[in-house]
Amino acid sequence: MEPQLSWYLALSAVLFTIGTTGVIIKRNIIAMFMCIELMLNAVNLTFVAFASFFQDVTGQLFVFIVMTVAAAEAAVGLGIIISIFRNRESLDVDDASILKL
């Protein structure tokens, strides 16, 4: 049986929900960060699925932009995480709820 569009969308929705739930319930910054990446990739999957379904290359192009931005975001985000860890000796987000030291 040919894979249907709805399969991709369902998988994407499941991945996105897992990512969202992870962002909300995880305390560890690294884990939250990975969940955000998961959400981005769930969206990417949707883009690619629609691009193939509509035979339109725009969706595939957009995925490249998302991946570029995600890479930049990962660099900045990891820098911030390292900085926080140096200052607080902790990766728990709730320990960083106060902006000043």
Binding site: I24, M32, A96, S97, I98
Partner: protein, 665 residues
């Protein structure tokens, strides 16, 4: 007739006030300040005399001099200009205001010498002259009201001149607030006039676009209103007249609004002379005479004016009998004399009222300035119980005050005799009052007797008898020439000033200058036969007889005063009189206390704190509580924010899913 010089009369003192306020306060040079102040009033005086007496002068022609400066208000039918008018009445007023004002300015240069607020005093005094002349020369009610309030303001400022003394500040506030009550009546009177007549102007001035029908000429063709109580509330001439009279009673210190004037003596003595004796307090008389056309159509109002005037005259005279402060005696005397003027207005003798205003301005300014000279010489002692025997220390002051004393007591040839006698005669012969005119005359006569007695008491306590002060410690001295010269000039005027109004009955010739001058400017009582120039023998004899009675009364009063007080100057007067019938206390208990209590307990503690503050606090509490709840949204936990974002996103998606996505269609 247009004449632009008129504005110089009012604007010269204004310029003087501005210069003294802006420049005088910096240079602090008494000579400079005095020159500016007296010079500006001198310019007014010269211009006023020129305009009054030149060949087309205001006192020589029937037509008023007009100066339309600018159109001030034009709202619907109501038109009020900044316009001046000098007719025979306002011309007469302007003459004595500027002249007496000039003398008092000169006197004040000596009296206020060395005061720190010298510039301030003269700036206010000049401002007062501006306001007073605006009041008098205004050609409509509204501008007159501006002057009316202006003199009230200057009166307030000058009474409170010694603002570091509490009683001066209190007296200033009392004067201001009491006058507000009167002004309430005046404003309502002006409004009613403009409703009834459609105009607030005194003089028609068609060239400047004013209506030909003025507020005063409107009434000329109206019928005289009925002499009933109901006419007061009918909204016609009687209502207007009584409202205007309320204003006049406030400004001119008549019962029941007279209480501010005695307290106003807390100001410097030249102020008392200028504002509270010679000029401002006679503004009420001026206003009534200016509106005589309205008053003669309102017999009920006239009747009330006469009664209030007579009652005030008698009432104040009895209080004056028992005062120990030299200025308080003169203050009550002023109230009493103002009562005479209102009595004259009330019986329709408008010319006699103005005549008395003029002579009163001379002799009362003289007496006040004389008392100022005494106070100055006694190193600011005002209590007559600590004076006595001053005539050998200050001979010029003594001699001039003697003329003032004789003038106010009504001794023949002195000015007060003619004017007071004129009023008493006009009261006696008033038409339309029946035998009640005799009652009013009797009140006037008793007042004249009391006047002579209390003035004699004042003179005796001050100038005769033993010295009741330590002459070695501080020796009284005669005042410098800047103070004595105005005294001498006023003494001369108090002596000869009455000759402008010698009645026909005395001279057997028609030489009553004041009556001829003012007769065209005032309204005639509609029901009176022309009694002014009657040759009827009996009436002339009656007038002569009454004049004789007046003379006897005056001499009797002086004699009684002399006998009573020459030996015992410290004779205890009745407590009731010394305490002014406890009127201040009664007002305090019946009006001021209740207002105070109602304000404090009701308005402040209940309304302000309860309602207004309560409302504000309630609003504040609601905001605070909402903030306290909303604070949980901003807990500072990242996952919380993420959850809120998710929730928001879900709501939006749900909304779009429910309503459909609008762009897709």
């Amino acid at each position: 007739m247009e004449n632009n010089l008129l504005s110089v009369i009012i604007f010269a003192p204004l310029a003087g006030a501005a210069i003294n306020w802006l420049v005088g306060r910096r240079v602090r040079n008494e000579r400079f300040i005095a020159t500016v102040a007296c010079g500006s009033v001198a310019i007014s005086t010269i211009v006023a005399f020129y305009l009054a007496f030149n060949s087309h002068g205001a006192l020589r022609t029937e037509e008023p001099l007009l100066d339309h400066i600018w159109t001030w208000l034009q709202v619907g039918n109501l038109r009020a200009d900044f316009g001046l008018a000098m007719d025979r009445l306002s011309g007469t007023y302007a003459l004595f205001i500027t002249f007496v004002g000039l003398l008092i300015h000169i006197f004040a240069v000596g009296y206020m010498h060395g005061e720190a607020g010298f510039y301030r005093f003269f700036a206010y005094l000049n401002l007062f002259m501006f306001a007073m002349l605006t009041l008098v020369l205004a050609d409509n009610f509204v501008l007159m009201f501006v002057g009316w309030e202006g003199v009230g303001l200057c009166s307030y400022l000058l009474i409170g001149y010694y603002f570091d003394r509490k009683e001066a500040g209190d007296a200033a506030k009392k004067a201001f607030i009491t006058n507000r009550i009167g002004d309430w009546g005046f404003v309502l009177g002006i409004m009613l006039t403009s409703f009834v007549t459609g105009s607030v102007s005194f003089f028609a001035h068609p060239a400047a676009g004013e209506a030909a029908q003025t507020a005063l000429s409107f009434f000329r063709n109206q019928p005289v209103e009925s002499f009933t109580f109901g006419a007061l509330f009918a909204g016609g001439a009687t209502s207007i007249a009584i409202l205007l009279f309320i204003g006049a009673a406030g400004k001119s210190a008549q019962i029941p609004l007279y209480v501010w004037l005695p307290d106003a003596m807390a100001g410097p003595t030249p102020v008392s002379a200028l504002i509270h004796a010679a000029t401002m307090v006679t503004a009420g008389v001026y206003m009534i005479v200016r509106c005589s056309e309205i008053f003669v159509h309102a017999p009920t109002a006239m009747f009330i004016v006469a009664i209030i005037g007579a009652a005030t005259a008698l009432f104040a005279a009895t209080i004056g009998l028992a005062q120990n402060d030299i200025k308080k005696v003169l203050a009550y005397s002023t109230i009493s004399q103002l009562g005479y003027m209102f009595l004259a207005c009330g019986v329709g003798a408008f010319v006699a009222a103005i005549f008395h205003v003029i002579t009163h301005a001379f002799f009362k300014a003289l007496l006040f300035l004389g008392s100022g000279s005494v106070i100055h010489g006694m190193h600011h002692e005002q209590d007559m119980r600590r004076m006595g025997g001053l005539r050998k220390y200050m001979p010029v002051t003594f001699a001039t005050m003697v003329t003032g004393w004789l003038a106010i007591s009504g001794v023949p040839i002195f000015a007060g005799f003619f004017s007071k006698d004129e009023i008493l005669w006009k009261t006696w012969s008033a038409a339309g009052l029946g035998s009640f005119s005799k009652v009013l005359w009797a009140i006037g006569a008793v007042t004249a007797l009391l006047t002579a007695i209390y003035m004699t008491r004042m003179m005796v306590m001050t100038f005769w008898g033993k010295e009741r002060f330590d002459a070695h410690h501080h020796k009284p001295h005669e005042s410098p020439w800047v103070m004595t010269i105005p005294l001498i000039v006023l003494a001369v005027l108090s002596t000869v000033g009455g000759f402008i109004g010698i009645p026909y009955a005395f001279a057997n010739r028609d030489i009553n200058v004041i009556e001829h001058t003012l007769e065209p400017a005032v309204a005639r009582m509609p029901d009176s036969v022309n009694t002014e120039h009657t040759d009827e023998h009996a009436e002339v004899n009656e007038e002569r007889l009454l004049a004789g009675v007046s003379v006897v009364i005056a001499l009797l009063g002086i004699g009684a005063g002399w006998v009573l007080f020459q030996r015992r100057p410290l004779l205890q007067m009745p407590r009731l009189l010394e305490n002014k019938y406890y009127v201040d206390e009664i007002y305090d208990a019946t009006l001021i206390r209740p207002i105070e209590v109602a304000s404090r307990e009701g308005l402040w503690k209940m309304f302000d704190i309860g309602v207004i503050d309560g409302l504000l606090h309630a609003i504040g509490d609601v905001v605070k509580e909402a903030g306290r709840l909303a604070r949980y949204l901003q807990a500072g936990f990242v996952r919380g924010y993420a959850a809120i974002i998710l929730l928001g996103a879900l709501i939006l998606i749900g909304l779009f899913a429910y309503l459909g996505f609008p762009l897709a269609r």
